[in-house]
Every structure is written in structure tokens, then in C-alpha cells.
Symmetry: C2
Subunit: 449 residues, 2 copies
């Protein structure tokens, strides 16, 4: 066995397969397999074409949540289970499947997630991959189990034990993995005032969106002072974005009769504002109708979808840490410094080049997607922009444009979901491999993609 893996690795390196290419291939294969299974008669209720199934599988594996058919009514229970599995594979795959694959390729020491973990966890015992993989899976399963239990208190009384359990489990999996898929055709709009659903779902997707690195760090250190630079940045950055989003959504939508204005109590409006403030950074569930939102709120949501969550998490986008470095660079420029410093650590030219590359590529990707989709799209431009950024951030929120797109437009959205999910990760591999080779910059490291 060991020998055959080593042979495999050798043949791979001879053929110059890069790890990102291998990973992209694995994702593509999962999507294709998922599409085939979802297209089979027992998976859907009859109205799902292969193109629809392919879109669903791509959306599930990339944990985006944009849909072209209704998950709850157009797929059977088997189809829904397949979707939940694809979500779980896609969401955890980022950490575990990549780790496993790379370990098979003999890249234990070049493996970025591991380097990163070992560095961030501060020389703990997490030195073998198996342990890392186990930790990730255990955290995910525990969170999903607790989430399912909470959601069952709402769904079981409403749908009975069997259906209620499945509703709870599906939404817990979808939430923890930030997939945004819902079995309700209007996402969670029906539960806009339900505190248990609102809090359970948001806590699940916020934990999943922080990233395992931060979770492990929090679990082991528990005190702010001892946390790694990366964790501090992620936690403080997320807090700022959440508070800002909460205040803004409430202020902008308070009297909009299509959204908050339709809710009677102040509590419900604050709860709905909270939900819509935290969902754009990658979760993709909604309890308000985004198509009814003001242009200003839509624009703010678009910027939050572009930012996304944390690296090494189930989130997409350019990532919170990238945004922070962009802000730091701007500050450093005005202070006439040539190093970026934060929380007493400094960032070198590598991080800065990485941020430039990531931001440029991301903007280019979004622009190209918009441009190609606009060639045949005739609807509202803001809706299309919303949809494309939603795909890039693997968010899954929609103002309805995805349903109006033709085959070319849908293909574009699929490609953007795919690259949005893999791209930053792929960039991460490049950086990690370089970090290993050079030790000139032992300063604070922030993962940017």
C-alpha cells in the first residue's frame, strides 16, 4: 500500500499534476457524479433536466445555494439526501478531502492547512493529518447534531417526527456548511420571527464560516491575548462587519413594506435585521425577500458577499482577512510605512502581493462573469450583479436573476461558483508552498484566501 502510494505520487510528479489541479478535478468529478445521481428518476419528481441537476450539484458541492429548481418539491427524499451529502462533502472537503489527497501525494510537509494549523495552534500535538481530519469531522458532526436537536423543537411539532427530523437535519447540515440550501421554496421567510430557527441557523453558519483554524485556536487557548494573529483578525473583523451590517439593514429597511415594514414588532424587525446582516457573508439563507430590498441595502449586501467569511472555512469571497489587509495597506500608505502592522505583528511583501493578486483576480472574475452573462441577459442589471457576486462568494442569495438566465448564463454562474470555491483555496496552496521554501519572513502570517 505504502509503495503504491509512493509510485502514484512519483507518476503524478512526473506528469506535473499540481495539487490545485488535482483538487479541482476531484471537485469536478463530485459535481458530475452528483448530477448523474440527481438526474436519475428516483432522485427527482420528473421536471429536472440534466442541466438542472448539474447546476444543483455544482451549487451543492461549492456550498453556494443558488438554485434553478425547487429543492423541496422537485427532488425526492433520495434526491434531497444526495444534495445533503454533496453539501457535506463540499463543505468539509475543503479541509479533510484536500488534506487526505495531499497526504496521498506525499505532500505532508508542504500541506498548507497543516503548516498553518501547526503554526497557529502553537506547537500542539496536532502533528498528524489523521488527527486533523478527525477533529474537523467531529466538530462538524457535533455542531450539526446539536443544531438538528434545536431545529427539531420547531419542525417536529409542525411536520411530525419523520419529516420534521429530516427538515431539521437537512437545514442543520446546510447551515453548518454555509450551503444556503433550504427545503422551503422561500428559504426561511416563513420563520422570520422564530427565535429558535433564527439563532440556531445563524450560530451554525457563523461557526462554520469562521474556519476550523479559528475554532481550534479558540478551543485550545480560550484567552484573547494568547490567540493567534489570524484568529484575532477574523474575530474582530467579523464582529465589525456583523455590527455594521445589523445597524445598516435595520436602518435602511425599517419602513420598507416589502421587508421589515411588514413585520409588526420591533423584536421581529431586529431579529430579521440580524439574520440578513449575517447571511450575506456566505450562508445564503434568507428570512426576508431580497428582491424587495432597497437598492442601497442590495448594494451593501453585494459588498458583504464579495468579502465573504474566513479562510479555511466553508465560506467564499475574498475573505475577511484580505479585506483587513487592504485596509491596513491603505493606512500604511498614509502613514508612509512600508510594512503593515496589526496587533503587534507585521506583514511582509508576500502577503501584500497575495492580497493584490487575490483582489485583482476576484474583481476580474466577477467582471468577466457579468460581462458574458450580460450578452444574453435582458433583466435588471442590479439583479444580475447580485447573482454573480452571490455565486463568487458562494453565498446563494438571489434576487431572482438565476432563474431568468439562459444556458450560457447558468454555465457562467456555475463556473463562478466553482472558481469562487476553489480559487482562493488554490491561491492558498501556491502561497503555502512558497512559505515552506523561504524563511526570510517569519512575521505574522494571515491566510488570505
Amino acid at each position: 500500500m505504502l509503495k503504491s502510494i509512493s509510485d502514484f505520487q512519483l507518476s503524478l510528479s512526473r506528469r506535473r499534476f499540481s495539487p490545485p489541479a488535482v483538487l479541482a478535478t476531484v471537485y469536478a468529478v463530485f459535481i458530475l457524479l452528483g448530477a448523474i445521481v440527481l438526474r436519475l428518476p428516483f432522485s427527482n419528481t420528473g421536471d429536472v433536466t440534466f442541466e438542472d441537476a448539474l447546476f444543483t450539484a455544482a451549487s451543492a458541492v461549492t456550498v453556494t445555494g443558488l438554485i434553478v429548481v425547487d429543492t423541496g418539491s422537485d427532488y425526492t427524499l433520495i434526491g434531497q439526501i444526495v444534495i445533503a451529502l454533496l453539501i457535506q462533502i463540499g463543505g468539509l472537503g475543503l479541509m479533510t478531502f484536500a488534506a487526505l489527497l495531499l497526504s496521498m501525494l506525499g505532500m505532508q510537509f508542504g500541506l498548507p492547512q497543516r503548516l498553518v494549523l501547526r503554526d497557529e495552534l502553537g506547537q500542539t500535538s496536532l502533528r498528524d493529518l489523521g488527527q486533523l481530519v478527525r477533529l474537523v469531522i467531529i466538530v462538524a458532526l457535533i455542531c450539526e447534531a446539536i443544531g438538528t436537536a434545536f431545529l427539531m423543537t420547531v419542525f417536529v411539532p409542525e411536520f411530525g417526527w419523520t419529516h420534521g427530523f429530516w427538515q431539521a437535519l437537512f437545514h442543520a447540515i446546510s447551515a453548518f456548511n454555509n450551503a444556503g440550501f433550504s427545503l422551503f421554496s422561500d428559504s426561511l421567510v416563513g420563520y422570520v420571527g422564530d427565535p429558535i430557527v433564527n439563532i440556531t441557523i445563524t450560530v451554525l453558519f457563523m461557526i462554520g464560516g469562521l474556519g476550523f483554524v479559528v475554532l481550534a485556536d479558540l478551543y485550545q487557548k480560550r484567552r484573547w491575548q494568547t490567540l493567534s494573529l489570524h484568529s484575532k483578525l477574523m474575530l474582530s473583523g467579523s464582529l465589525v462587519l456583523i455590527v455594521w451590517g445589523w445597524v445598516m439593514v435595520a436602518a435602511l429597511e425599517w419602513n420598507n413594506p416589502g421587508t421589515l415594514g411588514a413585520l409588526d414588532s420591533t423584536g421581529d424587525r431586529l431579529l430579521a435585521s440580524w439574520f440578513q446582516a449575517v447571511t450575506p457573508r456566505t450562508a445564503g439563507f434568507n428570512t426576508l425577500d431580497y428582491a424587495q430590498m432597497e437598492t442601497s441595502t442590495t448594494l451593501m449586501t453585494i459588498t458583504m458577499m464579495l468579502v465573504g467569511g474566513g479562510p479555511s472555512s466553508t465560506a467564499g469571497g475574498i475573505k475577511v482577512t484580505t479585506l483587513i489587509v487592504l485596509c491596513l495597506a491603505t493606512l500604511a500608505f498614509f502613514r508612509r510605512e512600508d510594512r503593515l502592522t496589526i496587533f503587534g505583528r507585521s506583514l511582509g511583501i508576500e502577503e501584500i502581493i497575495k492580497v493584490l493578486a487575490l483582489t485583482s483576480l476576484s474583481l476580474f472574475l466577477v467582471l468577466m462573469g457579468l460581462f458574458i452573462a450580460s450578452l444574453t441577459y435582458t433583466g435588471d442589471f442590479l439583479d444580475l450583479l447580485f447573482e454573480v457576486t452571490s455565486a463568487f462568494g458562494t453565498v446563494g442569495l438571489s434576487r431572482g436573476a438565476t432563474g431568468e438566465l439562459d444556458s450560457v448564463g447558468r454555465a457562467i454562474i456555475m463556473v463562478i461558483m466553482f472558481v469562487g470555491r476553489l480559487g482562493p483555496l488554490t491561491l492558498g496552496f501556491f502561497l503555502a508552498q512558497k512559505s515552506k521554501a523561504r524563511v526570510k519572513y517569519p512575521d505574522g502570517k494571515v491566510f488570505l484566501g
Copy 2:
């Protein structure tokens, strides 16, 4: 005299007035004075409010060209002359007035334009500011005189000697300074097939948009190999953007009955494509109706307006050189290099931080402008996006949204024009002052804003 300047300088430094603040104040004073004169009865035909006059003056001084009243019919000849003067002051001011002001402040050696010129012109005799100022003014006047002569061959037969001469002179001044103001209510749509107007106007605004640094370099060196890095980047970058824009406008609009499709001959369509390919990078004239353009072409135009022309020119936007560094950083990242190299020169961390800061600030500015304007704007989002980027790039092209904006929206557009014009320059001052203090990075310098 020398003593009083020195006293002035001293009192300025005591009060901590920074040069960018002084420059911004000077621009604001010009705008206010212009608005007052344009509001006076002899300047307009009666329908111009002070708000309109302020917008016109801001648009003229920032050489943008967005309008809320019709320049040709709502302003008298005197008003039009005032506008032409504001354009000339605003356009050349970037180089000359700033230089004069800073020399008064005793900042000869910290003056970025001069440092930059001395560096780029390769130790030529251009060592005193007076000479630089004279060169700039002479080049401008010669170009405008030649342009006026060419345009008179079209306008004099049509409008007679007096009116034809004024039409020719106004459009020559507006074109060289990339102001985009026209005395015709539909800009140059009436001359869409006229080769003399098309070529004269585009050549004028392309020369103005390259920047005096490049022009002086070209004039003195004449051979590609001996040109400075900055000139090479500007010329090759501009060429790529122009060819790309030409091909894309032609391809996307060829059969659009609202634009190219309305023209009979292939020659006219190619001429109109050429014009619309070169105008978005800051000129602001148009021979086709942008409101009739396809979404895809509009999107491409928006990206070109964001990029703009060259630093130290009459152009706005993030600048061609900034775009090139963004592309280089992306390439460097994938090649795992920590220095950016082009044409055998390398760029250090200073340039990279500057590009990050410039790009972040620019995107932030455009987003904030969009956001605030969207609070009261009810029209099409794409039109608003077009207008805001047009203001940021001081381009002046319009799909009609500026006319629909309320007072708040117009104020936003004014602020964006102002910052779009001053911002990158202001950033330039910061960098230049730092460059002087440190000599660790004597590598190739590219001006990025």
C-alpha cells in the same frame, strides 16, 4: 518677496497645512469663483440656478464634463468662455498651478512632479520649475492651436467665421484637457462620420491623456529603447486598451440599431467604434448615444472609465500604470516572486502598497458614492453606476442619470468628481515626499496615481 514667501511657508508649516490640503483648497476656490461668475446674468440665458452653476464649475475645473444644463444653449458666449477658462485652469492646473504653489511653499525639492520629471527625463536641463511650467503651457497652447485650425475647416463652413472659430477653439480646449464639454447638446453625435472632427478630437485628448511626462520623454528620446519605464508602460498599456476597446465596441454594437447599426458604411462604423473605444478613458466626448448601448458595452466602458488615463495627465481614474501593476502583482504571485519586474526594472514594496491603497480607496469611493446616491435615486442601477464611475474617472460620459438625480445625488457626483481629480494626485504627493526621505529603493519607479 522671497522673504514674504518664506514667512508664508513658515506660517503654513506652523499651522500644519499639508500641500494636498492647500491644493484642494485652491481647486475648491476656483470652483466657487467659477460658479459665482456663471450664475451672473451675463453668463447664462436665465435658467441656471446657483446649484447648476456650481455643478458646471465643478465639472469644468475637474475636467469631467458631466452636465446638468446645456452648455451651448443655457450659457451665453461669456459663460462659455468662463467654462473654457475653468477647463484650461483645471486641466493644466494639475501640472503648473500645483508646481507654482508648491514652489511658493518652498517645497522645490519635495515636489513630486519635479522629482519625477527629473528622474524620468534622465538628467536633462529641466531643473527649474519655471522651465517645466513653460513647457507645459507651450505644449498645451500649440496643440490647442493646431486642433482649432483643423476643426475650423469643418465648423467655419457650417457656422461662419466667428461662431465657427469659437466652436473650434472651445472643442479644441475641451478635447486637449479631456474635459468632454461640448457646445452641442448631443456632444459630437452630429459628426459621427466626419473624419476630421473624429481624428482631431481623439488625437488631442489622447495627447492630453498620456501625460506631460510621457510627452516630454517622447520629445527628448524619440527611440523606444531609451524611453523611461514609465513611458514604456503608459504607451504599451494604452495601446493594448485602445485596440481591445476598438475591437470590442465594434463587435458588441455592430448591429445595434440604436448605435452602430444606424450607420450605413463600414467606414463610419469603424470610425465610431474607434471614437467610443478611446473616449471612456477620460475624454468624455461621444459620437454614439451611450444610453442606447448594450449592457455588455456599457460594462466594458465602465471598467475603462475606472482605469482612466496616465498619471500627471489631464485624466482621472486609477490610471493605466496602476492597472499594469495590479496585473504584474497577480503574475508575480503565480510565479512565486516577491518582486514585480517589467521591461527589466523591478518595483518594490512601496509601489505595491501604493497600488493597494489607491485601488482600495478608489473602490471605496465609488461604492460609497453609489450607496449614498442610491438612497434617493429611483432609476436604472446600471445608469447610476455608469454616472458614478464617469465622475470618478472625470470622464463625463452619461447615460442620463445625472439629470435625474436630486440635490443630494448631484452633490455626491460633485464630490466624486472633485476627489477623482484630486485624490490620486494627493496620494502622489504622499508617495513623493516619502521617496525623498528614503533611498533604499532606487529601482524603477512608476507613478500610480
